[in-house]
Amino acid sequence: MIETADVLDFEELKTSFDRTFELARVELNQELVHLLIVRTGAARFALKVGELAGLARAQTVVPIPTADAGLLGLAGLKGRMVAVYSLAAQVGTPALSAGAERWLVLCRSDKGIALAFTVAEGTLMVPSSDLCPVSAGAPPHATDAVGSGASRLWLLNVSSIAAAIVQQTATPVAS
């Protein structure tokens, strides 16, 4: 690991997050994977920065009348209306209290989907060789594990989460 995932302040994190887009081409040659470390409730996950289109903090999410408990509501991100889904609900971790998920990442897939979580802790760059295949007990949408033991993080496939949401919404939820 090149950078420790300490909790950064938002501006620092945002700068770091944005810089990873600039660095991506260079780092690709070094087979590094850029990760955003997020916490949702007590659980921590890694997300590939390349699968994300933006990061926002303390975003207002307006609840909408829906029977889908994982759909927290709507938000305006980068001038677009997006549907905000709880990351916890998508990966099957315990539901959080209302308003606990104040950080959002915008999925890169052009579906207007944002995932909400408790806090972004930092960014990491890890050699792809450090990624381990998932083992039994991994949450849904986990593709790899980063690290081991107590510090192990599940790497979530954001595109897969977005695809699952799209598939789920294709069948209307009673509202």
């Binding site: 307006v62 909408i64 709507l74 209306m81 977005a162």
Partner: protein, 675 residues
């Protein structure tokens, strides 16, 4: 200047002038060639176009415009009518100018407009001065507010300086003089600065929201822009085919995104041409069928929540469904056996299949079976739907419905606690203050007695499934009555904030279908505010308590006639709970008026009423062809044998005595008559 830049503004202006020329030449034709007001306008348009074409060195367009001027000038001076032949020539000249303008664009991609399309794509929009002024004014006002914020920041800085000086004094050996007064002065200065900053921030919010709305609005174009080209398409098709057709439009002006408008314009041009070519009969045929010599093609534009509906209807021959089946079989779309089994509605959908046409001849106007395929392609592209209804010998109506990506509506902002929701103004019937005893419980739901009938009542926070902050007073003080078709719903709110034109954005597809919402509006901070879909909310509200479904509209419609409010509400609640749609009338005369406007499946009528009594009403319904088939039930306090006999003689199918019936016996009787 590169040619593209040179022509950029000319093309915008020239297209507008061409549209105006088309409209006014067609207007001239409608007035039999006499046009005291139109001729000067046409001359001005031709003259302006000539001048603009010369500026950008397009001599061919300038020459044609000049020729049009030459043709029109004598008529302005002599007031002689412009002949039909001259009008035809003028329209041809407009067509040539259009072609010349189109030729200025780079070659379109292969899947661009079909050769038959009459509608120019709206790729660029000309922004009016008033719109630019509104934008500029908003930006200027935002700058003023920002100046105020800077003043406030300076005031805070001065307090900081004084605070620093005060700290130095405190650090000194001698006690600071007037310490309390100094602290108090700084507190007041800070308070003023904070208030000022808060006011300025609010002002900036408002102005930014205005600017955002105005910018969004610039992307939207009025549907009326389509009309000249469509009218021209109808006119040309009619002339080519030797038919007489009048083109009529109705519906309120809607504003749509330019790319949607362009695509729909193309589809509609095919529809109106098809209506003329395949729908409207030739003048001799129309006369032989007892119709006026001139046919009518009507285009209606309506907005339904987050969707826009264009209906193109004609009073022509209608579609021969069997001929459609045969055409589809002949094209190999399906087998003869399958075609024969296809229900009428499904068979009609075949006209949208590639190459399926019932036309036996190919003309310049239609007959290839391509036009309706384009209609379906366009509606599919925008995830819309197309439907067709036809009545052989009477006419055909084709409906295109597409979701709106961005639209501008007037809406009223209502609130309960911190929950803010916009309600489209066109769906608002009225608003009224709620008295403490205004709400009643009927058939297991809250209802409001409004204009003599009970209408469902729903609280805004309940409709939005929103749990408000603890301590919020959620008691509704006002009811906003919303309307969809003939149905009403009362929505309980605690305040109405204001009415405004807002830009509605669609909900992201990834949110799924959120039935009670038509979309959302961005506020000044870029956060969404919800927009209600009254029609869907009303349907859901009707469906919930009694388990009625989305097919509610298919439920039999019953007219309850009684001069007693209590009786009306009682009968309504029982019958609604049983799944019927109910209208109410307060007298026999009122019922006759309502029955003229809508078809009912059943009349449930009191006997003793002022004016026309129940016996007379039932007897009267037997006198009219359109009412004869509708059964009546008399519900009365008069239980004597004579009264029962009189009711039967009048034509009532059942006789129920008030106070003796139960809910079950009433619904059983109703069910036996209407199902």
């Amino acid at each position: 200047m590169a040619d593209e830049n040179l022509y950029q503004y000319f093309k915008i202006e020239a297209r507008e002038i061409v549209a105006d020329l088309s409209r006014d030449i067609l207007g001239l034709e409608k007035q039999g060639g006499a046009g005291l007001e139109l001729l000067p306008r046409l001359l001005r348009q031709a003259h302006t176009l000539k001048g603009a074409a010369r500026v950008v060195r397009l001599p061919r367009i300038a020459e044609i415009a000049h020729a049009m001027e030459d043709a029109l000038t004598p008529h302005r001076d002599s007031r002689d009518v412009v002949t039909a032949e001259q009008i035809g020539q003028l329209l041809q000249q407009v067509d040539i100018i259009s072609s010349e303008i189109r030729a200025l664009d780079p070659a379109p991609p292969t899947d661009a407009q079909s050769p038959l399309s009459a509608v120019e794509p709206f790729e660029r929009v000309r922004v009016g001065l008033a719109e630019m002024d509104a934008l500029l004014s908003g930006v200027s006002e935002t700058a003023v507010q920002l100046d105020g914020i800077r003043v406030g920041i300076e005031a805070v800085k001065q307090v900081e300086d004084r605070l620093a000086a005060f700290e130095r004094q405190l650090a000194g050996a001698a006690p600071a003089p007037r310490a309390h007064e100094t602290v108090e002065e700084m507190r007041i200065a800070l308070q003023h600065a904070r208030q000022d900053l808060a006011t300025r921030a609010d002002g900036t919010d408002r102005e930014v929201a205005e600017v955002r709305g105005n910018i969004d609005r610039l992307r939207l174009l009025p549907t009326s822009l389509l009309l000249p080209a469509l009218e021209r398409a109808v006119r040309d098709a009619a002339e080519t085919l030797g038919k007489q057709v009048s083109f009529q439009t109705s519906g309120r002006e809607q504003r749509l995104e330019s790319y949607v408008l362009s695509a729909l314009g193309e589809a509609l041009s095919h529809l109106v041409r098809n209506a003329v070519a395949h729908g409207i009969e030739s003048p001799p045929d129309r006369l032989a069928r007892g119709k006026p010599q001139s046919g009518v093609v009507r285009l209606k534009v309506e907005r339904h929540a987050d969707r826009i509906v264009f209906t193109c209807a004609d009073d022509g021959a209608g579609i021969d469904v069997d001929a459609v089946r045969r055409a589809a079989v002949s094209r190999g779309v399906l087998s003869a056996a399958s075609a024969a089994e296809l229900p009428v509605e499904r068979a009609l959908e075949l006209i949208f299949s590639p190459g399926v046409t019932t036309s036996t001849s190919l003309s310049e106007v239609a007959g290839r079976g391509i036009g309706l395929e384009v209609v379906r392609e366009v509606t599919n592209r925008f995830k819309g739907r197309v439907g067709v209804r036809t009545d052989l010998g009477v006419g055909t109506s084709v409906e295109i419905e597409v979701p709106l990506s961005l639209s501008s509506i007037r809406a009223v902002l209502v609130a309960v606690g911190e929950l803010l929701v916009w309600v489209p103004l066109e769906a608002v019937h009225s608003a009224l203050r709620l008295d403490d005893d205004a709400l009643v419980a009927l058939a297991g739901r809250e209802s409001l007695v409004f204009e003599g009938r009970a209408i469902p009542f729903i609280r805004l926070d309940g409709a939005m499934r929103r749990v408000l902050q603890p301590g919020t007073d959620t008691r509704p003080r006002l009811a906003v009555i919303v309307q969809a078709d003939a149905d009403l719903l009362a929505v309980g709110v605690d305040r109405v904030i204001h009415v405004k034109e807002v830009i509605v954005h669609p909900l992201p597809a990834s949110a799924g279908r959120i039935t009670p919402l038509a979309g959302a509006v961005f506020d000044a901070q870029g956060n969404p505010q919800l927009v209600l879909n009254p029609e869907a909310l009303l349907q859901a509200s009707l469906a919930n308590p009694s388990g009625r479904t989305q097919e509610d509209k298919l439920a039999p419609h019953i007219l309850v006639i009684d001069d007693s409010l209590t009786s009306r509400v009682l009968l309504q609640s029982i019958l609604q709970a049983a799944g019927y749609k109910i209208d109410m009338a307060v007298s026999g005369e009122d019922a006759m008026a309502k029955a003229r406007k809508r078809h009912y499946s059943l009349f449930v009528c009191d006997v003793e009423m002022p004016g026309m009594n129940g016996f007379e009403f039932v007897a009267r319904t037997r006198e009219y062809d359109y009412l004869q088939g509708i059964p009546s039930i008399l519900v009365t306090t008069r239980g004597g044998a004579d009264d029962r006999r009189r009711g039967a003689e009048a034509g009532a199918r059942a006789y129920i005595v008030k106070g003796e019936f139960t809910e079950d016996s009433l619904t059983e009787t109703v069910r036996s008559l209407v199902g």
